[in-house]
Amino acid sequence: MTTLVFAEHNNEKLNDATAKTVTAAVKMGGDVHVLVAGQGVDGAAAAAAKLDGVKKVLVADDALYAHRTAEPLAALFVGLAGSYDAIVAPATTVGKNFMPRVAALLDVAQISEITSVEAPDTFTRPIYAGNAIQTVKSTDAKKVITVRTTAFAAAASTGSAPVEKIAAGANPGLSEWVSENLTKSDRPELTSAKIIISGGRGMQSGENFHMLEKIADRLHAAVGASRAAVDAGFVPNDYQVGQTGKVVAPDLYIAVGISGAIQHLAGMKDSKVIVAINKDEEAPIFQVADYGLVADLFQAIPALDQELQKIGL
């Protein structure tokens, strides 16, 4: 059995999600190859070649893949699929976008967001916002799978797989990339941060999120948010944690002014330690919090800032 893993990267750098997806692919057994598709991807390809368990890295370096739009990427994978028994990608927005296109072109029922590998054809995945776990077995000859990366540890980087350039695939010419408006931040990314501090509707404004950013900088944390905070325009869409946003599992998750709706919990309840700061002692977030503080956040957050400073953070 040979598995092809899609590498998530920003051309220069390999995203942590790739190393986690490799771990899932290795668990399925057989050889693991990684495909790095992009433009000017030498850096990302070199990093992929170091991942433990990777036998070979394929590189498709072409302007066609610069933004990893779905139609050309799917065409590339379908062209390579003949040599592989399984195609696996992280459930990032790129993976979620192009993988079902690959599955349909191969006439395969995709398995989305697996959280464990039970056997080469059997996987678990959360359904109903993580309130039930399904164990599914695929009867398709080829497998098309996306991986919930929070459920797998990152593969180490001690290997040295060969890197092979491959030709670009066809350009379906159906769509054109126009622009991107990416949130710029020096803080760690939400999906790989060890500590996350998230704000909800209780924050009242985007301005007030600066209080959370101050704490985030002391703790080298990422800043997240509930849907309500994003909908209200306090913070950009990519801050959203939850069933329909990002799924995170940091060592420490601090929820501030967030009630704890099912959809929010779905995105953070696998965090190691959860702290909730909320003025309503009945808020459902306290049912999953290891440490709950019933307090007005406008007092608690400045106090937390001072306390952290006191201990030298």
Partner: protein, 249 residues
């Protein structure tokens, strides 16, 4: 331009579901069902296109049991013109939903299909992309803004790092994200009017699609539950607990 909107009947988002003790699935008896919230957003967008004079007709399709008629009625009350129910009591996987939708697209010839980005029960996030693949159409997934630019579609998408804008050829597939619009509530007169709008009833066989499942569900279990924690009295106590737990400092 005709717009097709597939709408799925799902467990209401406020319901906390229960896993059946025999591990065969979740208990859906007497549970409130609603239209998938992302599909409400899809219908809203289609109806707005009609109100703006860009769309001529909005067709709502649901694949599911007889009760999925209610979901179609909701779409009609929001402003869709007519419905198609593809009736089946089987579990239809996204690949087969996409095959049925492809056949409907070939019969109805819409220029735009707007779907939800994911159904909140199975969270597959597949159907729209699969339909685009089967039709050989471009796909604009996770849309937060949709505009026309001549004969092309200018679409802003929610991606991991922020927002991305694409220009798509038409016909195209769009899937909705939360920020695309705020769906309206159907007014009482519109709910009454919807009762008179036509709904065609079909079966998967009418479209030549075999809905046999490819995935076997071996079991459905409860997730691990978190242990209830403690309430701390002060910020000082919180910080010392976090230090003890080794997560800060």
């Amino acid at each position: 331009m005709k717009v097709l909107v597939p709408v799925k009947r799902v467990v209401d988002y406020n319901v906390k579901i229960r896993v059946k003790s025999d591990q065969t699935g979740v208990d859906l008896a007497n549970v409130k069902m609603s239209m998938n919230p992302f599909d409400e957003i899809a219908i809203e967008e289609a109806v707005r296109l009609k109100e703006a004079g860009k769309a001529t007709e909005v067709i709502a399709v649901s694949i599911g049991p007889a009760q999925a008629t209610e979901t179609i009625r909701t779409a009609l009350a929001m402003g869709a013109d007519r419905g198609i129910l593809v009736k089946t009591d089987e579990t239809v996987e996204p690949i087969n939903v996409a095959k049925i939708l492809k056949a409907i697209v070939e019969a109805e010839k819409p220029e735009l299909v707007i779907l939800g980005k994911q159904a909140i029960d199975d969270d597959c996030n597949q159907t729209g992309q699969m339909l685009a693949a089967l039709l050989g159409w471009p796909q604009g997934t996770f849309a937060s803004k949709l505009e026309f630019d001549g004969d092309k579609l200018l679409l802003t998408r929610e991606i991991d790092g922020g927002l991305q804008t694409l220009k798509l050829n038409m016909p195209a597939i769009v899937t909705t994200d939360l920020r695309l619009n705020e769906p309206r509530y159907a007014s009482l007169p519109n709910i009454m009017k919807a009762k008179k709008k036509p709904i065609d009833e079909k079966s998967p066989a009418d479209y030549g699609v075999d809905v046999k499942a490819r995935l076997q569900v071996l079991k459905v279990t409860e997730p691990g539950q978190r242990q209830a924690g403690i309430k701390v009295e002060s910020v000082e106590q919180l910080v010392s607990k976090l230090k003890e737990a080794g997560v800060i400092g």
